[in-house]
Symmetry: C2
Subunit: 130 residues, 2 copies
Amino acid sequence: MSDVRTATTATNLEADETHRLISSEKVDGTAVYDRRGERLGTLHHVMIDKYTGQVSYAVMSFGGFLGMGESYHPLPWKVLTYDTRLGGYVVDHLDRNRLEGAPSYTSRDVPNWDDRSYTGRIDRYWMPPV
Amino acid sequence: MSDVRTATTATNLEADETHRLISSEKVDGTAVYDRRGERLGTLHHVMIDKYTGQVSYAVMSFGGFLGMGESYHPLPWKVLTYDTRLGGYVVDHLDRNRLEGAPSYTSRDVPNWDDRSYTGRIDRYWMPPV
């Protein structure tokens, strides 16, 4: 198969603007980086507000990363920034230490997303009031 | 197993407000109705803007519904309204006739979502300029 690529300079810029849409079936697996560009995990799934269609939380998986099997860390969508160059999300205040204290769960204790005290805890951890 | 349900009247009202979040893994299968409450299909997946986290398009599947095997109909998110009573989405101007002329695809001709002329065609069909 031939892999035709032409006018790369112009189309790369265009691509940055047009490759905006991703299927809910494929959002799983998008990489998550800290500010220094270190890959810390991947996006496992997102929680969508079914009324507004706005993603509220991104749930990241850090398989074995913290030495405790696969764990899931929910983050407010607002703290994620999509980085076109990295092809993934960057979270400014994300590092291993910060993760260790963050709300997380495993497949054995999936949270109740309707519990506002739970989502409030996520929000306060990642977006503390100033 | 015992299925404990208490204080239903109060909690049903609360549920309307709090059951807002749905996982991208489970959005698949949500029912889609016309204005008269007739179930026309189900939500197959959604297309998410990876920068803003806003769902742009909902792709519905109408398996065998129009007598042509499983087909996928993308609709702008804006034309969907979540109906708590029905537990699914209502689309005002959706009916069988309207669907037949709408942009659709099958698993053999999946669209290029980066092609703005394609998304523009969906937008114009479902949200014609006044």
